[in-house]
Symmetry: C2
């Protein structure tokens, strides 16, 4: 039997979705990291990736200024870092320092990436659009890096990597190793 969901929580009915950690360059040094679940690939040529961020978030202004960001995919064993970076503001906290995550220099961007991520996309701001109460930042992907053995022929190796999915509220899950292949 079908029941009606709460419209103000409509997005929960599309979860779980991957929880990614977006790094954004701070004006002087270092980066802020924000956990996002509202993000998607958009185009192949050029390679475009979109992330929806509320204007109130510290990262929103950082991306507007630096005009770049990195999308980092972090394994489930570090899910407590994702929860931390999704629930604190970088205005008051150095989230990288607090979480103990480590940074490394991106090759195609001035925004550092998270070393513990099993893959990351280095993006230059291509366009942005106000969409309702959020801004949809569209990045052109200039570089893709991954941790050795975590992908095989461009496909994630679920024997090696456990991705992090956000289920809503303060809850997360991961995906099965089993693959259905057609």
């Amino acid at each position: 039997m079908k029941k009606r969901g709460e419209i103000k929580k409509f997005y929960h009915y599309s979860f779980p979705m991957q929880a990614a950690l977006v790094t954004c360059k701070k004006p002087n040094d270092g980066v802020n990291a924000i956990t996002v679940a509202w993000h998607t690939p958009l185009s192949k040529k050029p390679p475009l990736y979109g992330v929806s961020i509320a204007p109130s978030r510290y990262s929103h202004g950082l991306i507007e200024k630096s005009r770049e960001f990195v999308v980092n995919f972090v394994p489930f064993k570090l899910v407590d870092k994702l929860q931390f970076c999704g629930s604190r503001t970088g205005r008051k906290t150095d989230k990288i320092k607090e979480t103990g995550l480590t940074l490394d220099e991106s090759e195609y961007s001035d925004t550092a990436f998270i070393k513990e991520a099993y893959s990351h996309l280095e993006c230059k701001l291509y366009d942005s659009k106000k969409v309702g109460d959020h801004t949809f930042f569209i990045g052109e992907v200039l570089n893709v890096m991954y941790e050795e053995n975590s992908f095989k022929q461009n496909l994630i190796n679920l024997e090696q990597v456990e991705p992090s999915f956000y289920r809503g509220g303060k809850t997360y899950t991961s995906c099965k190793k089993d693959i259905k292949k057609f």
Copy 2:
């Protein structure tokens, strides 16, 4: 050790992502169904949901004409239907008939939804934007429905429902029942 991924397959490095079945009204009767992995919530107020679709796809023109679509979330046991609807064109095939999926009338839309879906979002076209080689269709969510017991307090009940995730190529996976709660 970090390795470089193929930029033309950048989106695989963000997978797995939920494979959703988007229904689009045909000009006369019935719907076409297209499997998408490039989709995301965008805004709370108004409630907005975005789907990226290539102009070559039959569904692209259907959404442009009808100015609505429904995002259906289908359980993993029907993953063969997802693969079918992602790899065939509705120009030549009645995908609903071929897959044996069943339709029911939406309450807030003229586009039918998939009865076998455990949740669906009825969307009216709010805006669309050409983004690289795809069109990003932004729908305002007018109604959210779910199958009884598949959600509890707006959160998916993974004891009852096994969502479908696309891993790239012709491969799929699902998510674990275990939940990490903070």
